[in-house]
Amino acid sequence: MKLYLKLGFILLVVTVIATGILAYVNSITAPQIEALKQEEAIKSREELIPDSIFEEVEVSPDFSYFIARNKDTEEIQGYTFIASQRGYSDNVKTMAGVDPDFKLTGIKVVEQSETPGLGANCTGPDFTKQFQGKTMEDLMADKDGGKIKSLSGATITTRAIASSLKQAIQTLQQHVQQQAQTIQEDAQ
C-alpha cells in the first residue's frame, strides 16, 4: 500500500513538473504565434483583394467578414472571410475573397490537418485555382453535381471546403443585403 502511494506521488510530481514547463513555454510562445497568424491573415487578405483597406464586420461570434474598399476611391471591391468546416480529421479553415457580386476571387486554405499526400493537397494551387470565378451554385464537388474537381482520394476534404464556402457566402450575402436594407430604411 505504502509503495503504491509513493509511486503515485512520484508520478504526480513528474506530471506537475512537465505541466509547469509546458505552461511556461506556452506563455512565451503563444503571443508570438498569435502575432505571426495575424500577420499572415493580413497578407492573405491582400493577396485575395489587392490595393484595399479592410474593415471588419462581426455577424456572430463564429463568423465575421472584412469589407474591402479601394484605397483611393473607397468603393467596395469585395469581401473576405474565413470559412470553416470539419474535414476528414479536423476543421479545415479556408480564407476566401469574393467580388461585390459574390463571385469568388480566390481561396487560400489557412488551417488543415488532413492526411498528408491526400487531403493535405488541398493547399496546393492545382486545387485552389479552380475556385476562381465560381459562384455559390457551383460550389459542390463534381461527384455531387457541382463544378469543383475533387482531390483524388479526398472527396471528404473537397466537400468540406466547397460546402463551408457555400454556407459562408450565403451568410455573407444575407448580411450584406440586410445591412443595405437597414441603411435604406433609415434614409427614408
Partner: protein, 196 residues
C-alpha cells in the same frame, strides 16, 4: 567502436520498420510521397535522439514500476515544446513539418527505443542508437514512399518521372497501397536475410 555499431545497426540489421516492425502507423499514413516521408523521418529522428538522451539521463532516478508512464510524459512534453517553439520562431519549417509533429508522440519507435535501449545504456550510446534508428526509419519510409509516389502519382519528390500519358495507379497512394507495398518490401527483406 561500440558507438559506431550502435549507429549502423538501425539501418539494416535492426531496421525499425522492416525488422523490428515498429512505428507502423506513421509508416502507412505518411508514405504517400517522398517529401512527406523525408519530413516525417527527419522530425522523428530529431525527437528520437533527444528523447533517448533524456531517458538515458534520468534512468537512475525513475522507479522501475512506473517507468513507462514517466517516459510517455517526458516524450509528450518534449514533443509539445518542440512544436510550440518551432511554430513561434521557425514558422516556415513548422509549415513544412508541422503536421508530422503531433504524430511523433504516438510513434512507438520512440517509446520502444526508450524502453529497449536508452533505459539501459549511457547517454552517448543512446544518442547513437537514436540517430541510427532515426536514419533507418527515414530510409525505409522513403523507400516505401518512392514506390507509392511513382506508381500512384507518376512523380518522385514532386518531379514528373513517368511520361504524362501514364495513368496513375491510384490505389498505390490510398491505404491499401500502403499495406501491399510494405508487405512486399518485408518479403524481399526476409528473402535477402535467409540467403545470407
Amino acid at each position: 567502436m561500440k558507438f559506431f555499431s550502435e549507429l549502423t545497426k538501425g539501418i539494416i540489421k535492426e531496421n525499425p520498420i522492416f525488422v523490428i516492425v515498429l512505428g507502423m502507423c506513421p509508416t502507412l499514413a505518411v508514405s504517400t510521397s517522398v517529401d512527406n516521408a523525408l519530413g516525417m523521418g527527419l522530425a522523428a529522428t530529431f525527437v528520437l535522439i533527444c528523447s533517448n538522451m533524456m531517458i538515458s539521463l534520468i534512468k537512475g532516478i525513475v522507479p522501475a514500476q512506473i517507468r513507462i508512464p514517466i517516459y510517455i510524459v517526458v516524450i509528450a512534453a518534449f514533443v509539445s515544446i518542440i512544436n510550440m517553439a518551432m511554430e513561434a520562431y521557425l514558422p516556415d519549417l513548422h509549415k513544412a513539418l508541422g503536421i508530422f509533429i503531433p504524430l511523433i508522440v504516438v510513434n512507438c519507435i520512440i517509446l520502444g527505443r526508450a524502453e529497449a535501449f536508452a533505459s539501459k545504456n549511457n547517454v552517448l550510446n543512446s544518442m547513437a542508437d537514436g540517430l541510427g534508428m532515426g536514419l533507418g526509419f527515414t530510409l525505409s519510409l522513403s523507400v516505401v514512399a518512392t514506390i507509392r509516389e511513382i506508381l500512384g502519382n507518376g512523380t518522385w519528390l514532386k518531379m514528373q518521372v513517368l511520361p504524362s500519358t501514364y495513368d496513375p495507379m491510384l490505389v498505390a497512394i490510398l491505404a491499401p497501397g500502403a499495406f501491399i507495398t510494405l508487405g512486399l518490401l518485408m518479403a524481399v527483406m526476409n528473402i535477402i536475410k535467409e540467403k545470407n
